[in-house]
């Protein structure tokens, strides 16, 4: 194994373990962690299987194999960001519904307390 491979492997493994640990400590919910775990696994595969970069470089027509990582990383990042934007949109809708319910209930409670 080349030196860089060892470093890359350790970095990716650390990421993987950190995510698992965050789940274990209940700081991260499983459904949000899944995508991060997949990202970590992809990075581990790349660090162990050095030839993979060369194969992909050939398929994609890239002369310098390490550059293959750039589009891969961009794709992973974009997918994650979109995924989280979807979650934020969903949650803001739910927060709105909750706030409206609270406002309506508050009005009803006040009306019950002092009916005119």
């Amino acid at each position: 194994m080349k030196q860089i491979q060892i470093i890359a492997f350790l970095a990716a493994l650390t990421m993987f373990v950190c995510i698992l640990e965050l789940i274990r400590r209940r700081k991260l919910k499983e459904r949000f962690a899944l995508l991060w775990l997949i990202a970590a696994i992809i990075l581990i595969i790349f660090s162990l299987w050095g030839r993979l970069l060369e194969i992909l470089a050939k398929i994609m027509g890239i002369y310098y194999p390490p550059l293959v990582l750039i589009p891969i990383i961009i794709v992973i990042a974009v997918v994650l960001f979109i995924y989280f934007s979807i979650i934020v949109s969903d949650q803001s809708e739910k927060i709105k519904t909750l706030a409206q319910k609270i406002a309506l209930l508050e009005e009803e409670i006040k009306r019950d307390k002092n009916p005119n």
Binding site: K96, A99, Q100, I102, A103, L104, E106, E107
Partner: protein
Amino acid sequence: MNQTIAQNLRVLAIVPAYNEEITIQSVVQEIVDKVPGIVVCVVNDGSYDNTADVAKKSGAVVISHPFNMGIGAAVQTGFIYAIRNNFDVAVQVDADGQHDPSFIMKMVSDLTQMNADVVSGSRFIKKGGYKSSFLRRIGIVIFEIINRLVVGQKITDSTSGFRAFSKRAIVFLADKYPEDYPEPEVLIILKKNGYKVIEIPVEMRNRQGGQSSIKGYKSLHYMAKVILAILMQSVKREAK
């Protein structure tokens, strides 16, 4: 022209308000004075001034959002209130005094007589009454063309916030109300779902207090965003 509201028709005025303590009292009182039997519901959208207290003292039902959520959410809260309390018609009225409540009767009677789901008050059907700048008029014409294409009906004033809604429309909109630029979008989703939309001429006054949220270079930005919202709305899939 019959201008009385059919008896036993329960009408709710929904007044979305965000920091409108200066005008809210006269708006509420004028609605109550001009439309006998109406219930005024002020949806206080997280104001940090005295809007809620002033509105309450003026005799309105006040529903206060715990934080500001925008006019779309405020009007929707009003619709949910209308359903929970069995109203037949809801009329949306601005809190800044731009809308003359004398038109409410006409809007409601047109709604029932023409069997419509929305009666939208338009500033632009008749000439006069509303002065606007050259740029603003260009914007209005562009909106008209887009609406023609998207809604498939001539809408002269798609950003009007002075509207009466039938019970059917209330039930539909309480469930899904567009958020960002609700006025033009509401017409599109209602038309798309087979509801009947009509416009009648109204005159609008200059605002008594506060300022338009849209002015200067912001108006171009606003237009671009509204057009995007309208176009997106027209291709959106039905929500489940």
